[in-house]
């Protein structure tokens, strides 16, 4: 064998063995990190206990994400061994647990230095004199018992599984610390409700990291509000695991302040909703004027929208109104297990029922008026913590020309008029889903201005007499329906802009586009085909956004189904139609090139036309 061949063989062996080593080390790394490595006992025994522990603690946070990323690189036997790690509650290093005093919770914690709660820091922030991890775990158990008893006394059905598992460690999401998690992985079926699931909770082990502001909220206070929040999620899973996310957060955050009124962390979130800044939202909202009460997620405002529940409780003189919504949800079946149940009709049904006999529109309107009038009736000591809502417009020069606003479902907008040396008449034009109110605030007293006789304007006759520094007139407009894009225009010069009824039908949030492009679908054989998707996107972005485009689409949808039907039944026609659609799709994919080509063709036609006419002219002259 020549030298070259030997070198190749050696290289091949080197590559193979090194790859094997890498594979083995990765498998060993994860097995060891998760405390599942069973071989090499001698080597394991020689390892420092604390260093093993430190690795294992990390595994419960960032390491699980790494494991998911590297999953396909692991050997199948390793995958089998680690499979449970991805599914089950966290595996703590050197674990220990205590049963809470009431017996309803099992509090898990780690006893390694890196994984255990930082007792010294807890003692510093709280003034407690905790001497053992078990003492802190027992205190956490007591907090959860307090929460449990509160919910039980308020008529809630407790979640399946007892004692309920709570894991204290360092849970993260995207490598950032989080307060807590509630998950329904590996659920135990519940006999109580058809779609109920068991769950487990993970909470930060001590809340001493700076992100939790331990100098403002002590570790005990952070644990209290997190327990109140997460255990309501557990209750939610215990009613119906297909709950809609935004109302779950609204409810859990509301209860933080109902159960632990002295902590007041929930008020910190309010600004994101009441001082809503669409520019700060990623991705930017479709409608930039206001945030919907029922939006799935909009700059984390779902944590702030808890204030609606306070309004509901005050309006109906009982906090049970919120529980009734969750009880209604318990009997609702999901349309599809991958999609959560839209909470809007559930809330509507609960409010419609006795003893509330109301509607979501009525209660939402009461709520948004209260945001300005501040006529809250409970938690009065914390009234100053509720920010007044932001004004989307401040006017101090008059007249104000017509200004049109488009509002998403269940949303609101406020506009301020600063007193000036004249009377004020605000003229409105609105679609039926909009409710409006003009407030006058003078010497700190807020009054509602009645509508003029015509029903389309408000007049503030003493506007000139009001103090421009302390007084104001404020216009509130709100979409109190479950339909997006209701419009309202207002002015102080009597003019109005045209407002158009929304064309989009009701829905619970999310979901896009309407039907498919029938002919293209028939030609390509599937609604999901990429080319059909491109045409659909073109329709949604360029045709449905203007009147001529909408007319074209409406006509197309009327005429195309029978044609599509014929195409779908003949294979040879599909090829032909695909070919005919090709220029259209190319135009959609490459609009600049298509325009260039169009101009080229137009130029060529023009030239041909000119030549043709000249030729005819010459023929005529010759004749």
């Amino acid at each position: 064998m020549g030298k070259f061949c030997k070198l190749l063989v050696a290289l091949a062996i080197l590559v193979l063995t090194s790859s094997q080593c890498v594979a083995a080390s990765l498998d060993d790394y994860y097995l060891e990190a998760f405390g599942l490595k069973t071989d090499n006992i001698l080597a394991k025994a020689l390892l420092d206990v604390q260093s093993v522990g430190a690795k294992a603690v990390k595994c419960n946070t960032n390491l699980r994400h790494s494991l998911r990323r590297d999953w396909s690189k692991l050997e199948s036997s390793t995958q089998t061994a680690l499979k449970t790690v991805l599914e089950t509650p966290p595996v703590l290093a050197a674990p220990a647990s205590v049963i809470s005093s009431g017996g309803h919770f099992r509090i898990h914690y780690s006893t390694t230095v890196a994984g255990a709660p930082d007792l010294a820091a807890i003692n510093t922030y709280t003034g407690l004199n905790l001497v053992s991890y078990a003492a802190w775990a027992s205190m956490v158990g007591d907090i959860f018992e307090t929460v449990y008893n509160y919910y039980l006394q308020h008529g809630y059905h407790m979640p399946p599984a007892s004692p309920y598992d709570v894991y204290m460690h360092t849970p993260t999401s995207s490598n950032r610390l989080v307060y807590g998690l509630t998950s329904d992985l590996n659920p135990v079926p519940s006999a109580s409700y058809p779609h109920a699931f068991s769950s487990f909770i993970e909470v930060n082990k001590d809340f001493t990291a700076s992100v939790f502001q331990p100098t403002i909220y002590t570790p005990v206070q952070n644990m209290e509000v997190t327990a109140a929040h997460e255990f309501h999620h557990a209750i939610q899973f215990g009613y119906n695991g297909y709950f809609d996310y935004w109302y779950a957060e609204m409810t859990s955050t509301w209860y933080e302040d109902e159960i632990f009124d002295d902590v007041n962390q929930a008020y910190e979130y309010l600004e994101s909703y009441l001082l809503y800044d669409p520019q700060s939202v990623e991705p930017p909202p479709v409608d930039p004027h206001s945030v919907s009460l029922t939006a799935p997620r909009d700059g984390a405002t779902e944590y702030a929208r808890w204030i609606f529940n306070r309004s509901l409780a005050e309006e109906h003189n009982t906090i049970d109104v919120v529980r009734s919504i969750w009880e209604t949800l318990a009997g609702v079946s999901p349309v599809n297990t991958s999609v959560d149940i839209n909470m809007v009709p559930v809330i509507e049904a609960s409010l419609n029922a006795s003893p509330y006999n109301s509607t979501l529109a009525t209660d939402f309107w009461t709520f948004v008026k209260k945001l300005y009038s501040r006529q809250w009736t409970t938690h009065l000591a914390d009234l100053a913590r509720i920010s007044p809502p932001s004004m989307l417009g401040n006017y101090n020069t008059y007249p104000v020309p017509s200004h049109k606003v488009t509002l998403p479902r269940y949303s609101f907008a406020f506009y301020r008029f600063v007193p000036s040396s004249q009377s004020l008449t605000v003229t409105l034009s609105k679609t039926p889903g909009i409710q409006a109110m003009l407030f006058k605030k003078a010497s700190g007293t807020v009054t509602e201005v009645p509508l003029d006789a015509g029903g389309t304007s408000y007049t503030v006759s003493d506007f000139a007499a009001m103090n421009p520094f302390t007084d104001e007139v404020v216009l509130l407009v709100a979409n109190t329906t479950n339909t997006n894009s209701h419009e309202v225009s207002f002015s102080t010069d009597g003019s109005t802009s045209t407002v158009t009824d929304p064309t989009v039908t009701t829905g619970g949030g999310g979901g896009g586009g309407g039907g498919g492009c029938f002919i293209a679908t028939a030609a390509y054989g599937s609604y999901l085909h990429p080319k059909v998707a491109e045409l659909r996107a073109f329709r949604d972005h360029y045709l449905l956004t203007n009147a001529p485009g909408r007319i074209f689409v409406a006509a197309y949808y009327r005429l195309s189904p029978p044609i599509a039907d014929v195409i779908a039944r003949h294979e040879w026609m599909k090829s032909g139609v695909r070919c005919l659609l090709l220029p259209l799709i190319l135009a959609v994919e490459h609009p600049a090139a298509a325009l260039g080509l169009l101009l080229l063709v137009a130029g060529a036609c023009l030239r041909w036309g000119v030549l043709f006419l000249k030729g005819r002219g010459r023929e005529a002259a010759a004749a």
Partner: protein, 170 residues
């Protein structure tokens, strides 16, 4: 030019166009359609590099792969259809920062039920995907005590995203 001849020319042009399109449609590169899971549904298109995608082709079983060159053709048995699904856990929330997202669940047992009778049992792969070849009919797909109902059609592939858990992140 007589109208008959003109008609023949038009017909010939249309026929040639159809034939060309048909031939174009048979090019290997165009044989497969690509889809990926976007967190809530399977959508047409290509995901980020090295992210698993689903390749579909009429008459063949679906393929879940990360690279085109590894796609292997396996004929779909006569008179059957197929479903391709993914088991995933959905996360919502984030008080301190947005924490929503999807985590695939690998190696999860998935059962296919017709009525109450189990007709197939598979396990999600290392990326959470699973593929099942079935006779036409309506089935319940079950994983981790969750179900989704699908209707399998002869010669077609359907998607079955299966959410097997939910996580509230705060």
């Amino acid at each position: 030019m007589s109208s008959g001849l003109r008609f023949c020319l038009v017909a010939l042009t249309v026929a040639l166009t159809c034939l060309t399109a048909h031939a174009f449609a048979k090019k290997p590169a165009e044989l497969w359609s690509f889809f990926y899971f976007d967190g809530t549904a399977f959508v047409a298109g290509r995901p980020a590099p090295m992210t698993p995608f689903v390749a579909l082709r009429d008459g063949f079983l679906p393929v879940v792969e990360t690279r085109d060159e590894r796609i292997r053709e396996v004929k779909m048995p006569e008179g059957t259809g197929a479903l391709v699904g993914i088991c995933y856990v959905q996360s919502h929330g984030g008080k301190l920062q947005a924490a929503g997202g999807v985590d695939p669940v690998p190696m999860l047992p998935v059962q296919v039920l017709s009525g109450d009778k189990a007709v197939a049992a598979v396990q999600s792969d290392s990326n959470g995907f699973f593929i099942v070849n079935l006779a036409p009919g309506t089935y319940r797909i079950s994983g981790n005590n969750r179900f989704t109902e699908v209707t399998v059609v002869k010669g077609k592939v359907i998607f079955a995203p299966l959410r097997v858990g939910k996580r509230m992140v705060d």
